[in-house]
Amino acid sequence: MSTKIQKEARRESMLLNMGPSHPAMHGTIRVMVELDSERILNSEVEVGYLHRGFEKTCEHRTYFNLLPYTDRLNYVSPLINNLGYVMTIEKMLGIDVPERAQYIRVIMSELSRISDHLTCLAAMAMECGAFTVFLYKIKAREFIWDVIERTTGARMTTSYIRIGGVRAELHPDWRDDLKKAIVETRKVLKDVHGLLDKNKIFLNRTRDIAVVSAQTAINYGWTGPCLRSTGVYYDVRKAHPYLVYDKIDFEVPLGERGDNFDRYMVRMKEMEQSLRIIEQAMEMIPEPSSPLQLMAEGMKPAEAIKASRAQKVEERIMLSPNLEGSEKERYKDISTAEKKYTVPPKEDTYTNIEGLINHFKFFMEKHGIRPPKGEVYFSVEGGNGELGFYIVSDGTDRPYRLHLRAPCFHLVSAMEEMIQGHYLADIIPTFGSLNMIGGELDR
């Protein structure tokens, strides 16, 4: 069994194998290169080392149950994956989401975008030798993940954005945390601009390396920051506005040359825009209908269940701490009014028969969320570009077919062409600037 490049390589050239596990390749991907001394003549990229059968698995899960699998696609911005999937289903069901939940979604997806870009550029800079930049960026990401963690309960596998809304209300002092994260991220961005923008070592490795023209980028189906680095104005948030992005004022940064440096720069500028979006959303978000405080007092669930057998329970029920933020009072802020499509409030499930029936109807096999027959495509702007879901429904509670349009699939498919003619060492910043995410690419 020999691969194409092994068969076609010239006798006098050297074949070198990078990956699938290589210190400078932050993802499991294999690049085989045919070298003339250090110059790359040809290359072959082999992917699939992280293939987990995401699409096949989803066909066997209910619409509600497959949400956690979407966390594991692009694992540095799981909230955007949740959002893409959830909004595709909402498009099929035709349900409206409360305004506050929409703003929460915007804040969360912009936070994810920043953490995505920070991770990408941190890894790229580190692989070029700028370890300080890596540490600075990871520090900024920690502040962002703190906000995410305190609201969603998880740093990476969030499953926070749910069909019809979000799982829980923002945590009580989210404004302070968020402000702190914004201030810290701004500081880090300024420092990184100072460290890298005119840094000769960094410039030599990124300027005019792996230049991609706008036409080639379009022909490869590129989207997101990489497409914009070539000067093409396309952002799903502007072209097909979703949530409340049309009410928010932000710019779409563009590059000029489409080289590694432009891809770095577009990401840096995009983070600034994301911070702007978050700041505006913080101002514009409607007030919650009940104050954001911890509701720890109340009757124990077991007692409430017992008491409800005799008469209607009026007291407040103390929920388990992992349900913090999804108390019954909060539902009208964070979840759609259509009861069929959301998990009923736990207070109802514990104490009255309708709530219990709703709960079982929601989770029972062949009941639950059943979108109408048909097929739908919907996309959001992910960290890497247009993150689209194509879902075919046959009217049952499981998708008949679910396909993910992974943005970095298209980016990485251009790798072979991009590195041709460059030096072996250029693979590293080029690969870093593409932000290949194994979970999303290989699915």
Partner: protein, 161 residues
């Protein structure tokens, strides 16, 4: 912009009257169902101005097991200048799942078609390098087909030399 969008579908219907089975809207998405042999002509026509569907957003397949035309290819085209998405679908019979390759128009079709070949076993005419993308050489069956069990085991393969 809206005019342009409507025009694309109307012109398509006019130009390929016999080859287009159906055009309709579902959940707000525009869908065109065409004959298998007209794919290259239709795409070539749509790529030109003023329609300029210059981007292949996505390409995938759906397995409708039990139907005579078992496989359904799904193409998502996108026009940047008109901000217009279009879905093109065509059916392939189970016995002869072959369709023309789009690699001559779109470079990302190369990998996308390799993925579909890998997962569904669809053959693509004139594809430069049709082999598995995610799975390895020696993998048996096509995992996204509906008759492939979720937990099927694979035979052991020899180590690569």
């Amino acid at each position: 912009m809206e005019m342009e969008k409507k025009k694309a579908l109307d012109d398509l219907r006019k130009r390929f009257s016999g080859k287009i089975k159906e055009t309709f809207l579902k959940f707000g998405d525009e869908i065109v169902i065409i004959e298998r042999d007209s794919l290259l002509d239709v795409v070539k026509f749509l790529m030109k101005e003023p329609y300029s569907f210059t981007m292949l957003l996505d390409l995938t397949c759906v397995d409708h097991i039990g139907q005579e035309n078992r496989f359904q290819m799904v193409y998502h085209l996108f026009s940047l200048s008109n901000n217009h998405r279009l879905r093109i679908k065509l059916s392939l019979p189970e016995k002869d799942p072959v369709v023309d390759s789009l690699t001559s128009f779109f470079k990302n079709a190369n990998w996308l078609e390799r993925e579909v070949y890998d997962m569904f076993g669809i053959q693509f005419n004139r594809h430069p390098d049709l082999r598995r993308l995610f799975m390895y050489e020696g993998f048996e069956g096509y995992p996204l087909r509906k008759d492939y069990p979720l937990r099927k085991r694979q035979p052991r393969i020899r180590l690569r030399k």
